[in-house]
Every structure is written in structure tokens, then in C-alpha cells.
């Protein structure tokens, strides 16, 4: 397993000018990024939707790479989304999955069949042309140039340590320094589209 921040740090040198949707890795990514306006940290607008949102971005901006850090809880809620992504097959879409086997924001209860789901195989079965899985940071680090150097869509499942939040939601420290409205406005400004 690897820590989420380590996985994101390994990705960072390969980011280039990609739009990054950090999903539930957002609270770590905001501390690492050096191109904040091309980041789309949204927190959790509604569970299960990060893949759809990132797909929409990729379809709307086909000349820009879109990198998503999804979670297994989100994708389990929307497995059918894998078939939509595979059918659309955006070549600019890079779908990473942070699999910590639990619902970390609600106290760490296991997701269904947590230890046995092979998410890379689910993606392949849904029609993704490429999918891989890593549980060691070194292996992931070595594979990143090849993963990002070829056209998407690609699905990469990463086993990460659960980093569990137990504090009541109302007393948690907000990690996102920008509102969702500001995040979208910043992105649109950066890629040169109107408000």
C-alpha cells in the first residue's frame, strides 16, 4: 500500500498542463500543486459523480489531458459510469482510483467486499482499453511515464492506506481554500473560456 500523498507526489512531476480533478485526494493535492488554477478540487458535491464530472470535462476539452483521482467508494456507487467512459473513449482521460477499502470520511467502515474487488479488471470488462493496478509506490512511480505517455482512456487502481476522519463533519477543518464557484471560474479563466 501507499499513502495518498505519496501517490499524488509521484504523479506531480508528470502533470504537465493537465487539468487535475483530485476527488477525495483533494485535501492532499492542494498542498502539493504548483498550478492551482488548473486544479478542480470540489470536495464531494454528491458521492459517485467525480468520474462523470471528469468525463464531461474531457469531452468538452478534448485537446487537454484530464487526470482524475477517483475513489473506490465513488466508483462502486456508479459502476455503470465505467461503460459510459469506455464507450466515449476520450483519449485525453486518465482515470486513477484511490482504493483504501473503506469509507474513510465516515469513520472507516469497509466498502462492500473491500478486500476482493479487482477494480482494474472491472474497468477492462467495461471496455477500457488499458487498466493496471499497483499496491507498491515504487512500481507505480516507475510506470507513470508510460501510463501518461500513451493516449487514454486508461484506468489505474492504487491501493492506499485508509486515512480515516472521525471528527464530526461540522468540526472538520476545511481544506479547500476556494469555493466551488471560484474553482470553476479559475479553471475557465485559465483555459480561456467565457464565464
Amino acid at each position: 500500500m501507499m499513502r495518498i500523498a505519496e501517490a499524488l507526489a509521484a504523479f506531480k512531476p508528470h502533470r504537465g498542463d493537465a487539468i487535475v480533478v483530485p476527488g477525495r485526494g483533494g485535501r492532499y493535492w492542494v498542498e502539493l500543486t504548483d498550478n492551482e488554477k488548473m486544479d478542480v478540487p470540489l470536495g464531494d458535491p454528491a458521492m459517485g459523480g467525480h468520474a462523470g464530472f471528469a468525463l464531461g470535462l474531457a469531452l468538452a476539452q478534448p485537446k487537454r489531458r484530464v487526470v482524475l483521482f477517483d475513489s473506490e467508494g465513488d466508483i462502486l456507487m456508479s459502476l455503470g459510469m465505467l461503460t459510459t467512459i469506455a464507450e466515449q473513449a476520450p483519449a485525453n482521460f486518465y482515470h486513477f482510483l484511490l482504493d483504501n477499502e473503506v469509507y474513510a470520511t465516515t469513520g472507516g467502515q469497509p466498502v462492500p467486499n473491500a478486500k476482493n474487488v479487482k477494480y482494474d479488471r472491472l474497468a477492462l470488462a467495461a471496455g477500457y482499453p488499458r487498466a493496471q493496478a499497483f499496491d507498491k509506490l515504487d512500481d507505480f512511480d516507475r510506470a507513470l511515464p508510460e501510463i501518461l505517455g500513451r493516449p487514454g482512456p486508461v484506468f489505474v487502481a492504487l491501493k492506499v492506506y485508509p486515512e480515516i476522519e472521525n471528527a464530526p463533519i461540522g468540526s472538520r477543518v476545511r481544506w479547500n481554500r476556494r469555493s466551488r464557484t471560484q474553482v470553476i471560474a479559475d479553471l475557465r479563466g485559465e483555459i480561456g473560456i467565457g464565464s
Binding site: D44, P45, G49, H50, G52, G56, A58, S78, I191
Partner: protein, 172 residues
Amino acid sequence: MAEASTVALSPETVLAEMKKNAVSHIVWLPDSETNWLYLLMKAEPSLTLVGVSREGHACSIASGLAAGGARPMILIQNTGLQESGDSLRGWLLGMNVGVVIMVGYRGWTRHGVTTDTAATYTEPFINAYGLSYYLAENDADAPRISVAFEEAEKSKRPVVVLVGDEYHGFNR
């Protein structure tokens, strides 16, 4: 057939409204109203069809499309709209997405006797989310679709067009 054109919302009319309003992507799940419309949309080069397997997915996809500068429209049935509640809340209302959701009004009778619970709960559901909506039953109602687009763009909120024309018109 002449009668049908006056009582039905024809798929050609709906396609014309999509083109008039510069729709780029149709995010959709088929329903019993739309099979003829599907063939027309598929043949229209200005539209990209994004098929989903559960209607809530349409909300997050449309949100991403809108954020990236595209002009999506959602096309689903009232059953799927009701399934989409949390995604509608978070990905459309929460992200200020001005998108038109065209909804097949399954069970609509316009005679005051509704036996299909899909229809029973449709308007209360829409009202619970505070959404504006319009009913389109025939070609004469088609300008309401453009009104919905204008309102969605201005308010930055989703606006619903209920299609009260099941099993004829769209379906032929």
C-alpha cells in the same frame, strides 16, 4: 398523419430546438418517448450523444461538460429524474449549472386521473427541488423549450421541460 403533427411533439421539432439553442452534447438514457428522436440525434453531426446507464450520472457529466465550456442537454424519463435526486442537488444545483433537462412524463394523462405513480410524484419532486418547469405536449408548445434554455442560462440553474407525449410523436 396530418392529425398527428398537430397533436404530437414531433422529434423533428425537438431536434430543431436543440440546434437553435446550440446544444453540443445530449446526455441521456432512452425512455419510451424517444426512440425516433434517437435516430435523428444520432444522424445530426452537431450533436454528441453521451449515453448513461443510470440517470444520476447525467448530472455529473453535464456538470463537467458545462465547466469545460460545452452546452449539454439532459434527456431522461421522470422515473430517472426521481432517481437522480442527490446528483441533481450536488452536481447541478450545487455547481450552478444552467442546463435544460428534458423529461419524458411517463403516466401523464392530462385528464386528471393518474394511475402511474411515476407521474404522481413527478411535479411534487420537481417542486421539492425548487426547479422551474414547462410542459410540452405538441409542436405548438415547442417554443417553451427555448424559454427553458434562456431561463437556465440566466438563472444558472437546471430547468425542466416535461414531455407529455408518450407513445406517439417521439415514438411514432
